[in-house]
Symmetry: C2
DNA sequence: TTGAAAGCGTTACCAT
DNA sequence: ATGGTAACGCTTTCAA
């Protein structure tokens, strides 16, 4: 049987309350008593019972992290930093996956998990159906990503602005027929929406006529999903000058197909991504992308959640994490002049 | 204030015990009572208090998953499946990261986390210093990966055999000067040890003389770490016929450097990996690798852990997950004849 | 089938 | 500075 605080108290010749005081540091404890108690703890290799503690003070010390799919590099890198920062702040992290399931997002937002986790970090995919829209009482939650709502705290990268910048960059490299992969389509996906908006904004500024056939939708934002879409797209469409993929994962899939079909990047077509996942730098060719500091994002998120847990009635806030474009070989090196007459 | 079981009982006109019975299904409850109670629960949107439950029955319903680095594709994919299978079995997953830190591995193995988690899945990197070696009382734990010990349950892929097979395959493609990247070196790293062993085994069978300069150590098993090592290696060594990287991540780094230096894969040099991470298929060229079923690994692991949690005194077991080699373009296509005279 | 009471291990309140 | 007592919300005896 594992020793309890009572056992420690008995051995140290004090009351259970004193043991608790030593542990929590709430009330003052004399140096002698403290030493005695700590000695006893060590001898019994005492570990406080987490459940009892949680029950008593109403906090579990755990936060939930809900991501669409942990196995994607972007989510994995984010989770890595969230876990790290949370630990620094004394919190454990319980992982949840929402898949592509709006219902699951909703469940998590409902109070159901209360008392397992003290707060939730949620990276939703769908907006309309998402629980964020519903006027239910929220648990302490911070939303991650391009969700446009004002009901909950949020940390995001300005996808409109970043997509606009990337499009302008590709244009500056001489490209006119700039395609986007992952474009807005039927189902409302926040990330697709904002980035498509930024893309269109840039085209407008550049006076490049809008060509719907260059907005390529992609249901599954993975290398495989992207590869399938690109392969069939290229069977029926002319090769664009540049392909701006809304995630690096999609860009990697696109690079794979382009290479398999014998196209050279960036000579025949430029490719850019978004997210700056670790593998992008080691793609072949290395990938131009929108980069932002994942660690900073994690820190801001955890800090915001801790503030929210402390006061559930604060006004919702939005934190914007900065970005910068990193240009690598996938758009560089074969700078073609702007085609005359277009 | 959140409603308790007592509140539900009052509203339904029954005792708290009956509410508990409805919830757990331990004792029989008449259909009418059950309906009444469930109605009351719904009206109050009652959610059982997890801490109280854990305190009472001594189980938290959480298992810990400790990985070296969640942001690597291999770990991320594994975590994805573990989380998924654990949920199916009714468990939540708390993530821990051990970094490259043997001490952290030890801490986790100590009883410290008891009562937060019911059991632990640990993917250790170091063997000698790892807590597994110490004769301390273990929490319910399943070790993941190529750790050679008999003190705890374990799920692994036979790295010796797989590395041997891959080496034989490369030889069958006509390669003689087969290098390995990630070779055993100074610090004892279990995965490096077993795979190097399999490699040497194959060379022995093939009567290929052992050339230490073809065993390339690599401290950081990431694309970046591998790229750095390969770059400096190639400055002072002749290009091998084939490079067998002990992980796909390292292979991706190697491909990147080889391509940057103007070498063609597989024409100038064949490259193979290990793990079959998702991006390997979309690498340029697609990567030959050792594949194994991650989902199956997760299932075996969770099942083993559940058994261990049920009976802490069972004899430790080892489960071996099968593998198969998937040959893709990085070793295929430019099949050179065995060089005469070697 | 249901109810009453006890107790899981901890901490808060109130004394001393 | 320290100790006693009660309470957190649940489940498990034991009785009815």
């Amino acid at each position: 049987m594992r020793p309890t605080g009572k056992d420690v108290a008995r051995r140290a010749g004090v009351s259970p309350k004193t043991v608790s005081n030593v542990l929590t540091g709430t009330a003052g404890v004399s140096a002698r008593t403290r030493t005695k108690v700590e000695q006893a703890m060590k001898e019994l290799s005492y570990v406080p019972n987490h459940s009892a503690r949680s029950l008593r003070n109403g906090r579990s010390g755990l936060i939930g992290l809900a991501l669409p799919d942990l196995s994607t590099p972007y989510s994995a890198e984010l989770a890595h930093h969230i876990v790290d920062v949370a630990h620094e702040r004394g919190y454990g992290v319980q992982i949840e996956e929402t898949g592509q399931d709006p219902l699951r997002e909703f469940e998590l937002m409902s109070q159901a998990r209360t008392n397992i986790i003290d707060g939730l970090i949620l990276n939703p995919i769908f907006l309309e159906k998402s629980a964020v829209q519903v006027g239910v009482a929220l648990p302490p939650v911070v939303l991650l990503g391009e969700v446009s709502q004002q009901l909950a705290d949020r940390v995001w990268v300005d996808g409109v602005s970043a997509a606009r910048d990337m499009t302008l960059l590709l244009a500056a490299r001489g490209h006119r027929r700039i395609a986007v992969l992952g474009a807005e389509h039927q189902r409302y996906v926040a990330t697709a929406h904002t980035r498509t908006e930024g893309y269109r904004l840039a085209l407008g500024e550049l006076n490049i006529p809008h060509d719907p056939s260059l907005e390529i939708p992609c249901d599954v934002w993975s290398p495989r999903g992207s590869a399938e879409v690109m392969r069939s797209y290229l069977e029926t469409h002319e090769l664009p000058d540049a392909i701006f993929c809304f995630t690096d994962s999609m860009a990697i899939g696109a690079l794979s197909v382009l290479s398999a079909l014998g196209y050279r990047v960036p000579d025949d077509v430029a490719v850019a991504g978004f997210d700056d996942i670790a593998d992008g730098e080691f793609a072949n060719p290395p990938l131009t992308t929108v980069s932002f500091n994942r660690r900073e994002m994690a820190e801001r998120t955890i800090e915001m959640l801790i503030r929210r847990m402390a006061d559930r009635h604060r006004e919702p806030e939005t934190t914007t994490v900065g970005y910068r474009i990193i240009e690598r070989a996938s758009t560089l090196g074969a700078q073609r002049p702007a085609r005359p007459g277009q």
